[in-house]
Structure formats: C-alpha cells, structure tokens
Amino acid sequence: MPHDHHHNHEHTEPPSDLELRVKALESLLVEKGLVKTETLNAIIETYEHKVGPRNGAHVVAKAWTDPGFKQALIKDATEAVASLGYCGRQGEHLEVVENTNDTHNLVVCTLCSCYPWTVLGLPPAWYKSAPYRSRAVSDPRAVLKEFGTQLDEKSVIRVWDSTSEMRYLVLPQRPQGTENWSEQDLQQLVSRNSMIGVELARSPEQKGEGDK
C-alpha cells in the first residue's frame, strides 16, 4: 500500500513487489525491442495531460449554445465531435444521450471499463470499481444518491451498459440562470461526472468547484 502513507517518507520506502514487477517487465520489453521508452512516455503524456474531460466540456457547451451543432451531435456524435478535433481510440463509435426534464441518462460498463476516451480521457477509479459496475444497472437511484444527486421521483433513469464498441456521452441539461453565458464560461459548469451521468451540470453558484 505505498500510497497510503506517502506524506513524508515517499523516497525512502522500498519499492513494492508490484513496482518491481512492472519495472522488470518494462525493461524486458525494451531490451527485446518490443516497446520504446519514448513511446511509452508519449502515451502517458497523451492520456495524463492532453486527452481529458475538457474535450467533453467543450462538446457539451457548444451543444448548449449552437443548435445546429447539437442537432449534428445527436445525429452522428462521432462525426460532430471529430469536427472539433476529438477522435481516435475508444471514441470510434460515439453516441450522445441527452438529459431532459423527464429522462436522466447514466453510463456504465458492467463487464470492464469501456468509456469514451476521446471526450472524457481515462475513466476515474470509481467508474472501474466493482461497487459502481454492479449497482449502476440494478439500483441507479441509490448510486446517484451516493454522488449527492437527487432526481425528481417521476423522472426515468436510463442506464447505458457499454457492452459493445459504442461509447456513450451524456449531454447534461443546461443549468438555469445561464441564458447570457458564453460557450467558454459554460464549459466551467460541465463536470466530468455530469457527462457520465452521476451528477448534474454545476449551477452558476458552483462554477468554481472544478478548480479546487
């Protein structure tokens, strides 16, 4: 459990078995010419710093402000999202599902961890965890409550289990009181969690929460 107590003696702790096992594997594969270290670093850089949920926030805020784009997005999300420059691995067959006053959408992958990388980056740990994967389909209302999300009793929850290569992105409802907001400002309200469907988009009062 190296990250349970990393406060001040991180550098003096011996590496765990797991760290050693991974180091040994990487060295072996590099020596055999099966991978290049610079390629590994480039892959990490891409998914740690470049491809992430800001892409999705851009898509959502544009859909909120540009009816033509929204229409294109609902019709063919893969293509509409590619027009903003977001395409590639784990976003080859993208679909956008829209929240309305009476329907709320929630995305899960009960069998593994399928997730729309091109617009959201890599999935958070909880999305890949057994508790979420098991209960998102059988008790979505309780799952939403765990995220502090309370829906109208009458609204229908539609859960999307990502069993195929289709990838789902939730289009949350535009928060009230944002009528004159610019696309740029609206992006601040689009949390990653709202695009998975476990939360709603932030209200204007919650705008700064993404920066914490």
Binding site: P2, S16, L18, E19, V22, K23, A24, L25, E26, S27, L28, L29, K32, G33, L34, K36, T39, L40, N41, I43, I44, E48, G52, C87, G88, R89, E92, H93, V108, T110, L111, C112, P124, A125, W126, K128, S129, A130, P131, R133, S134, R135, V137, S138, P140, E146, F147, S155, I157, R158, V159, W160, D161, T163, S164, E165, N193, V198, E209, K212
Partner: protein
C-alpha cells in the same frame, strides 16, 4: 464465461466512495502509468485484438479479479498475452531485467509519432456484410443463456430476460469470435429492458439499454 468481471447486479460490493472529481489524479501510482502505456504500446504490435485483451484479464480466479486493483488486472492480462503469443517466456518474466531474452520474430515497435497516429486514428469495429439483420426496431427479443466457456459480451443479468430492440447499430466485429482471433461480423442491436423485468417490481422508472449481438438473441414475438 463466468468470471469475476461480470459484475452487473452483483450484491454486497460495498459503497462506491468516489474521490472528488477535482482531486482525482489520472493515475494513482507510477507503476499504473507504466502498465497502461505498456498495454497500449504492446497492443500496437498487432499480435492480439481488444477482445483477446479483455479475455486475458477475465481469465482469472473470480475472487482475484475483484480483489485486484484495476491496473493489476491489466498487468495480469498483459503478462498472460505476452507469454501466450510467444513474445516472452515464463522464465523471462521471472528473471530480472538484466537477462535479455530471445525474440523469436522481428516486430516493429512503433515510435512516438506512429503511436500517436495509431491512437488518434482508432480502430473501427464495423464489418461489411451483405446479410440482413434478423430483428427490427420494436421487436421483442429474449436474451439466450450464454453457452460459451470463452469470452462473451452478454452480461449475466440480462440472460433469460425479454427486451425490445430500439436501434439497429450495424454489423460489428463479434467479440466471442474475435477473442479467439476470428474476425467476423454480426449484427448489433440496442435492446431496452425495463428495470421491473430485470430486477423486481420496485425498479420502476428505470430502463437499461444494452448493446447485444444477434447470436445472443432469440425472437420473442412482437
């Protein structure tokens, strides 16, 4: 196959305890970064496909699958594939990195630029066919009990349940075959199930949509 990975509807998995979004790092330890990158980079050698890769992670003791952290399961899967595809030997995996092994064939490890191109191009799963889909929108379908001991993408919780086809998604690479290295297309449908049919009568106001391939389904009248 029955495995620890088929988690939909399983009980007693505990609370989710999500980390706050603003505080969650993409990776929680350096070894996770390396396992992620090693998996993607070796995948680019073209020796296995995504379903073989998923299947390799699933083929574990079910308890181990659930107890392992996410990237531990990736590591398990990766080591398994490397050995099974003859890229490294079990002995090499057990040895320290200072003992170089033998590569039986010359494979081209992509440089960063090629890797970026592969990642931004993606890999489509649509397969051309002249066949016609058996089911149409609005059809009732019964999800068959899975017969395979291998990889499949039909979740246990939907098996034996009747749903309604709500979209025809085209002919996609069939995971059950793809995991065996056989690339064939089957029609894929979006099937809607009511919470009441899947779980119990308290699950009103809930609908679950699952993408299911034609061989998983039987017609159940209209």
């Amino acid at each position: 196959m029955k495995g620890g990975h088929d988690l939909g509807g399983q009980l007693e998995m505990g609370p989710i305890n999500p980390e706050p979004e603003s505080q969650e790092p993409v990776f929680h330890a350096d070894w996770e970064r390396r396992v992620f990158a090693l998996t993607l980079a070796t995948g680019m050698l073209g020796k296995w496909n995504i379903d073989e890769s998923r299947h390799a992670r699933e083929r574990q003791d079910p308890l181990a699958y659930v107890q392992n952290s996410y990237y531990e399961n990736w590591l398990e899967g990766l080591e398994k594939l490397l050995v099974e595809k003859g890229l490294v030997s079990i002995e090499e995996l057990g040895l320290t990195a200072n003992t170089p092994g033998q590569t039986t064939e010359s494979l081209l490890a992509p440089n960063p630029q090629i890797a970026q191109e592969i990642l931004s191009f993606g890999a489509h799963s649509i397969i051309k066919t002249d066949n016609e889909p058996l089911f149409g929108n609005g059809d009732s379908v019964l999800v068959r009990a899975s017969q395979t001991a291998g990889h499949t993408r039909v979740p246990k919780y939907a098996q034996g349940v009747i749903g309604t086809v709500v979209a025809k998604l085209g002919c996609h690479s069939f995971p059950d075959s793809n995991a065996l290295g056989v690339h064939e297309g089957k029609f894929l449908y979006r099937v809607a199930f009511s919470g009441v049919d899947l779980w119990d009568h308290s699950s009103t106001q809930t609908e679950v949509l699952i993408d299911l391939w034609e061989p998983y389904l039987d017609g159940a009248g209209n």
